[in-house]
Every structure is written in structure tokens, then in C-alpha cells.
């Protein structure tokens, strides 16, 4: 009997192509928009997470003062010291590396070119913690770090502005009154990151910056890379306790330093994009429901329009179940065809938009399945009532219907 109904339903759909197309249009648009929105949202989330992870996964950054800005009155909070960095690595478990940073504003000069930039004094851990890679040359040797030699690794912005097409490795760069040899060039990172552009900087051994450029022993920030196997929240708390102790803060006194957790930032950003995805998905889901109501309307109209046909079918011996099943199968078939076309459409649109916006192409198979299942469900639910109405018609009255 199901075979009979399927056969009859397919014949009817083929016979009324325009009507069938209009019926499925709502489902096509609904499914396509839900799947496209959610897939693009997923791609946006991935893209944001990829950018955040470039900052360095599980990175805690210590800065003096509270928050990003410095509070109104009072003396400026004391900077950190090199010994703080040593204490962190030796006293806190789960810390992979620590990179103290001292910085100074300088103008870098090479031949006739002049460029204002930041000199970052740090250790080799800075490169690994920040996931900065070298395009050419090398990083510092241990003796260069301890002795505070005048050697530097430059960012890509410096290279392109001062050296143009020349290979900078081995050349000498003037920073204020010191001459320093370029030993390496960083790969271009692109915009992004806390505190400044990683491409627009000259990286030197920390002692070189302290002694020759800044003229003091202060460490402006400390980057702490956390081992992935450890919970950065717990390490964050331990770190805060250690710093309070080292900075002689009594209980009740506010912290005069701040810790930024890159994982928190990435979680927050990912959470935001997820929320937006959900919102877009919900809007799209409404259009899917509207599509379902469209199917019901067309089915109801077609039951009225086909009253006589139903009368004929009943007169020549169709039982009610067969008429019910025929209409139900018609509705479900239309919904499923709509669902398939919608999925194909969303695949094309998602691919096109991903390409256009430079997102990674991510087609959400799970939501595609849900949307398809939902479109079939719409067929059953919104097809059932018109179908039942058709089946329960009195054949005599149905035949008399004009």
C-alpha cells in the first residue's frame, strides 16, 4: 500500500510541477538559510579562535597596574623585576616558559631611512611563547642574552620600511646611540594581539634594552606560557598569590598588577560568535517554520481543489488510508525534495561566502542533518491535517464538488 501511495504521489508531483515548486520554495529557502547561517557562524567562530590562538595559546600576561589604563591619582604602580620572572618559573608548576619584557620607544635608522618603533627587550622564550617564527636568520644565543649584546631580531614592518628588498641579516641598525646587528627577521603576523603590533618592533636581549635604551631595571610585562595539560585558571590564581607576596601586598590591599588570560579572551570571543550564530540560526529557523506553513497552505488549497479527484479515487475503490497516505507522502516527498535542494543551495552559498570573506569553509553536517530532518517533520506535521481532511471526505459530496 505504501508503494501504491508513493507511486501516486510522485505522479501527482510530476503532473503539477509549478505547484510542487511553489510548495517546496518555502522549505528550500528555510533549510538553505538555517544551514548557511549556522555554517557561516561556525566558520566565523573558527576564524576568531584561529586568530586568538595566534596570540599564543594559554598565555598569561602580567602587567603592572589595574586593567588596561592607569588609575587617576596616586603613585604609578611599581614595575616588575627580572627576579619576578625567575620566581615564577621556579615556584609555579605547570608553567612552560616565562618571558619578561622591557620596552622603550626608539627610532631605528638604517642608511637614510628612519622609522619610529618599539624596542622590546626579552629572552628567547618570548618567541616560543608568542608563537613568533623566523623568516630568516636566528634567535639569540644564551651568551648574547646574559651579556646583553647589541644584536636584534626585527619585525616584518621594520624590514620592509628600512631594508626594502635588501636582506637585513648581518646589517647594522642604529637605535638611538647604539649600533646593533640584525641576526633574524620575524615572519609577518598581521594585525592583532595585545599591546602593539608584533610586526612593528625590534627585539633585543632584555639586558641590552635595560642598560642601553631604557636606562633602568624595570620589567614592564611578563608573559607566562602555561602547559596545555594544566588549567590556566588555577595557575592564574597561584600567580596572583605569588605576585602579591613578592610585591608585599597585605591582605585587604588591592592588586597593583593585572593578569590577562588569552584563553579567557578566546573563550569570550568564541562565546560571542556562538551567541551570534545562535541568533542568526533562530531567525533562519523562523523562515523554516514559515516554509512549513506554506506547505500546509498549499496542501489545504490542493485538497479543496482536488476534492473531485478524491471523490473519483474513493468511488473506484480507494480506501481512506490510501488517500491519506497519498497526500501525506506527497507532502513528505515535497518537503524532502525541498530539503535536499535547500542543502545543495546552502552548500553553494556557504562556499561562495567563505571564499568571499576569507573564512575557512566549514559546512556544518550536524545542522544540515537537523534541518533536513526538520523539513521532513514539517512534511509529516503540516501534511497530516490536509491529508486527513481529504481522506474523510464523503465520496458522493466530493464527486458533486465543482
Amino acid at each position: 500500500m505504501l508503494g501504491t501511495s508513493l507511486l501516486l504521489a510522485l505522479k501527482e508531483i510530476r503532473r503539477h510541477k509549478l505547484r510542487s515548486f511553489l510548495t517546496t520554495l518555502g522549505i528550500i529557502i528555510g533549510v538553505a538559510s538555517v544551514v548557511t547561517m549556522v555554517s557561516l557562524g561556525g566558520a566565523a567562530t573558527q576564524s576568531v579562535q584561529a586568530q586568538v590562538s595566534k596570540l599564543g595559546a594559554n598565555m598569561l600576561t602580567l602587567r603592572p597596574g589595574q586593567g588596561f589604563g592607569r588609575g587617576g591619582g596616586g603613585p604609578p604602580p611599581p614595575p616588575f623585576e627580572l627576579s619576578d620572572a625567575e620566581a615564577i618559573i621556579s615556584q609555579i608548576g605547570g608553567v612552560r616558559s616565562v618571558a619578561p619584557q622591557a620596552s622603550a620607544s626608539v627610532s631605528a635608522i638604517y642608511e637614510a631611512q628612519n622609522w619610529s618603533t618599539t624596542a622590546t627587550g626579552t629572552t628567547n622564550e618570548y618567541f616560543s611563547a608568542g608563537q613568533l617564527e623566523l623568516a630568516s636568520g636566528r634567535i639569540f644565543t644564551p651568551s648574547e642574552i646574559t651579556a646583553g649584546k647589541s644584536v636584534c631580531v626585527i619585525g616584518d614592518t621594520i624590514r620592509s620600511n628600512l631594508f626594502r628588498d635588501e636582506n637585513p641579516v648581518g646589517r647594522n641598525l642604529r637605535l638611538r646611540d647604539i649600533s646593533c646587528q640584525v641576526i633574524g627577521v620575524l615572519t609577518r603576523r598581521g594585525q592583532g594581539g595585545f599591546g602593539g603590533d608584533p610586526d612593528d618592533q625590534v627585539v633585543l636581549p632584555i639586558k641590552t634594552v635595560m642598560r642601553r635604551l631604557a636606562g633602568n631595571q624595570s620589567v614592564q610585562s611578563i608573559q607566562v606560557a602555561v602547559d596545555e595539560r594544566y588549567d590556566s585558571t588555577a595557575i592564574n590564581a597561584t600567580l596572583a598569590m605569588l605576585m602579591r607576596e613578592r610585591r608585599h601586598l597585605r591582605p585587604g590591599m588591592e592588586d597593583n598588577f593585572a593578569i590577562f588570560d588569552s584563553k579567557q579572551l578566546s573563550d569570550t570571543l568564541a562565546g560571542t560568535t556562538r551567541t551570534l550564530t545562535g541568533l542568526l540560526g533562530a531567525v533562519a529557523a523562523v523562515s523554516l517554520i514559515v516554509g512549513g506553513i506554506g506547505i500546509m497552505n498549499i496542501m489545504l488549497v490542493s485538497v479543496t481543489e482536488r476534492t473531485r479527484e478524491i471523490g473519483i479515487r474513493l468511488a473506484i475503490g480507494a480506501v481512506q488510508r490510501e488517500v491519506l497516505l497519498q497526500f501525506l507522502v506527497e507532502a513528505i516527498t515535497l518537503s524532502c525534495i525541498g530539503g535536499i535542494i535547500g542543502l545543495a543551495l546552502s552548500l553553494a552559498v556557504t562556499a561562495a561566502i567563505s571564499l568571499g570573506l576569507g573564512f575557512p569553509f566549514a559546512f556544518d553536517v550536524q545542522i544540515a542533518g537537523v534541518a533536513f530532518f526538520f523539513s521532513a517533520l514539517i512534511g509529516v506535521v503540516f501534511g497530516y491535517f490536509p491529508a486527513r481532511r481529504a481522506a474523510s471526505l464523503n465520496p458522493i459530496e466530493a464527486l458533486r464538488h465543482e
Partner: protein
Amino acid sequence: MTRLIELRGITKDFGAGESAFRALRGIDLDIERGDFVAVMGSSGSGKSTTMNIVGCLDVPTTGSYRFLGHAVQDFTIDQRALLRRRYIGFVFQGFNLLARTSALENVELPLVYRGENAAARRKAGMAALDRVGLAEWADHTPAELSGGQQQRVAIARAIVTGPAVLLADEPTGNLDSERSVEIMELITELNRDAGITVVMVTHEPEMAAYAHTIVRFRDGQIQGVEAPGASPGAAPQAAH
């Protein structure tokens, strides 16, 4: 041999309470196999209601209806549908073919409900179309056929299952006299050669003249059963 159709004391009421209306007031009627019965009567005389009951499209309020010995009045709605599918072919005044559907597909439709496979449907469908002389028109839709041709397709659809009885409700009502004669000759042939019992409602005495038996209805009762020619051309009321 069991009688094909046996109606005993059939009444039919429509509506309820104040507006109740008794359309049939006790019908007794026997139809033997192979008979060709014309049912006549003015509109509202109860002939259509009787036809609906005979065709198992409707049930009597009281009385018994035996079809091949089965008590149809006790059948469920599905059992009646299956009985129609197996034993009854319908021909209507308005043809009632499915639009946008080829003649062959229209004729095959009852076989679809019987669960026949595509090859068997096609063979039987073509045979039925050939029987009514429309084999070459198999692929045409009703819109492309004349009224007479449409009625032939409808007859082919009614006989494709080899029914025991053909119920024709004013089969020539929408046709000109030439076409009407052709249809009546076709029905007469089916009755004579294929042994299909025919029950036909008609207004026209010329069409009733093809029948073996004429049943006249008046005011929800059978006024008389006669052979054609017994009262040729006479108005039914004249016998009263």
C-alpha cells in the same frame, strides 16, 4: 446462484430533527446477473439515492442490502471501498476523469489500487481502451478528447477491473444524440458480450429503451418495474 443485488425495505433519511427528510420510503428491488436495468424518475424521486446505496457509496438508514449474498449494510467504510474496487464500475454524467492525466493512466487507476504491477496495468489498460475503440488515444489527456471520447475512457476505466456491475449515472446526459447512441451501443455490447450487469439512471426514454428492465421511481418509492415498450413514451405519472 446467489442474486447479484437484493434490496429489502430500504429507507434513507437525510438530516435530523425538524429538517429531517425521508428520501427513500421502503425500496424492494432485485437485480439479476446479466440484467440491463434503466432507472427512471423525476429529480428528487430517490433514484440517485438508490444508486448511491447500490454503488456502496452510501448506506441505508434501515433495510437490508445484499450484494452477492453479502449484507452490505453491515460493512465498514473500508469493506465497502474494497467491494467497489472488486465488483463495481462507475460511469458518471460528468465523466470525472483526472485532468492532466493521459487516457491510459486514467484507465489504469483502479488497477493501481488493486496493486497490479506496471506491466499488468498497461496490458489491461490498453485492452480496455481497445474495447471502447480508443487505443490510439491512450496518450491524450481528457482536455484533448471530445465528450464522447471522454465518456468512452470513463467506461474503459469502469470495466478495466472486470466488474460484476456497471453503474451508470446519466451516462449520456452531457452528450449530443449521435454520441449518446454510440455510448448506449457500447454499453449494450458490454452487457451482451461481456455479461456485465448494467444499472443506468436516465431521464431519456430513448436511452431507457436499450434496457431489459425499467424501474420507475416516484416520491422515494418504486412506482413500477416493466419491460421497455410496455408503456412507450408515456410519462411515469400516467400509470398512476
